[in-house]
Assembly symmetry: C2
Homo-oligomer: 335 residues x 2
């Protein structure tokens, strides 16, 4: 192997939005797979809001990325060398492969991607972390019942779009909250009953109009004022799913707590958090369900594809500016 | 009947702490019970933190007390006239009888109090709203398991003291948070494993020391900074029970939301609210359990008795100044 592997490593812990000096672009020879390992040439890297949390020091659901370490990322690519029985050269896989061009990985730690069912990049979106996150959070915590009203924020993003579509499949009225005309149009195309544009509308007023019977399930990806607006409209026994808080991840003067949390008290309602890794044992169930809906055409999928490995730092910032529609992925080699 | 009935009526909706001009002391002839009704001479009136919420306009779990209406209150007294088959003159009863000296009530709407089992005032505390609130919130939402760590705030109050004692009966390590040396001593007397004095200790640090394995169940009566400290120490799958937020009820510039709520996300934890009236159908279950523990001596009970009907407005303020230990009740006739 004489090929070169480029990597983005964490150079410093960001304060607020990550800045260029928080990253180091490194170069090293491509590694060689040992016993049971594969070498993957990465084609797509997923950009996740959760990445911001992984960059912070301190107690969380997984250890932080260490200073000097390759940035953690879900990525997908092609097996180019294999010492693992279950995978052959030419197979496509997805896994926690990092922000780099090539990764050596345990064969056990990656999942094969069926590119007949869906394009490879979809395995970072609807058939990847965001899709499974949507599935577990909605099904296990939101527990929507036919006829209920489900509201999801970040509805133009990868997770929110899947949440709303599954809620429609379950027979619910579904309202999505997204930022801007283009995203709201996308949300409507996905089959949501209504879209609320938080950039141009009074969210509280618009939600009250779109949810005349109140909100039975609120799936939150954003936190902040939007969470407070949804809390104010909960029905009795409502379920609030805390999946993320992208509005708060770069806050430098503390997270804003939901001041309407006493709506839980008066409504016998609950607010429950989760992360994808809480459900590792149920991945097959989620993939079977999501794959089935993709195959039948009941679940639409969309990726927002940026290009060029060197653009990783800027592309990540697009997430926090709310610029992506659908799953934001980075195509490693520009066309 | 020529006796006179005095009543405290709501004169204005308070801003912040209720002030004397928010009340009107009225006088009228004692009423006469109609068919199926009883006339009760009230002996004790319960002071509840929830009363503050009942005085506010707006959507809640029950309608607000109207301006000019007798203030809503749980009270206990003696039946002095009865047109209801199930109750005789001389029986003791408890119910939502209002802040007044005499009440005419539906016989169906009051519960007979067995003063052989416990003194009448206990039916406003451990065997009343606070005790049943403790029971439902802890058993149904907190769901403590033997060996777990349960933390309760407002531990020197009527609900908190029962929560901790039931949690001990369930085999848990129990830590109470209360304000001041006297209350912390009381909490320890009740059998809690430890007491944290929020007035003199760094709550976050003290809780971390007293809960080396984290907090599995947090029963919150207070909100504010103490809720945030508890959230920071949750274990995986922890349950936060939102029973009240006495620190926030008189806030004039908005409720402080829990900025550590994302601890729910990283711990797959839940925060669920409730009020007593969510569990009306399970009152017999609660009274059987609580009565059994009182009878066996496993559940201690204490009332903090103020005297004199005319002192109602001041007595209510004692709650919000955190001055009571055990259930705060007003004895209508001073000794």
């Amino acid at each position: 192997m004489t090929a070169v592997n480029h990597q983005f490593r964490l150079a410093a812990r960001p304060v607020g939005l990550p800045k260029p000096s928080d990253w180091e672009l490194t170069e090293e020879p491509v590694g060689e797979p040992g016993d049971g390992e594969v070498l993957v040439r990465i084609e797509y890297i997923g950009l996740e809001p959760a990445m911001r949390g992984w960059m912070n020091e301190g107690r969380s659901y997984i250890p932080p990325v260490g200073i000097g370490e390759v940035m953690r990322a879900f990525a997908a690519g092609e097996v180019v060398a294999s010492n693992y029985e279950g995978l052959s050269v030419g197979d496509h896989v997805r896994g926690l492969l990092g922000v780099q061009e090539y990764a050596v990985a345990d064969g056990n730690a990656v999942q094969k991607a069926d590119t007949e069912l869906a394009p490879l990049e979809t395995y970072l979106g609807t058939l990847g972390l965001p899709g499974m996150t949507a599935y577990f959070g909605l099904i296990d915590i939101g527990r929507p019942v036919e006829g209920e009203t489900v509201v999801v924020s970040g509805a133009g993003g990868a997770t929110g779009g899947v949440v709303g579509q599954i809620a429609k499949l379950k027979g619910c009225r579904v309202v999505g909250i997204a930022g801007g005309v283009e995203k709201c149009e996308y949300v409507t195309e996905l089959g949501f009953d209504a879209a609320v544009d938080y950039k141009s509308e009074d969210v509280m007023k618009a939600l009250a109009e779109q949810c005349p019977d109140g909100i039975d399930v609120y799936f939150d990806n954003v936190g902040g004022e939007i969470l407070d607006a949804a809390l104010a409209l909960l029905t009795r026994n409502a379920r609030v799913v805390i999946c993320g808080a992208i509005s708060q991840y770069n806050a430098t003067n503390g997270v804003r707590g939901p001041s309407n949390y006493l709506s839980l008290l008066i409504n016998h309602a609950s607010m429950t958090g989760f992360v994808f890794s809480d459900y590792l044992d149920r991945i097959p169930e989620a993939l079977t369900a999501l794959g089935g809906w993709v195959a039948s055409g009941e679940l639409s999928t969309r990726e927002d594809i940026a290009e060029g490995f060197e653009n990783f730092p800027d592309t990540l910032l697009r997430l926090f500016r709310g610029e992506n529609t659908g799953k934001l992925v980075l195509k490693v080699a520009a066309d």
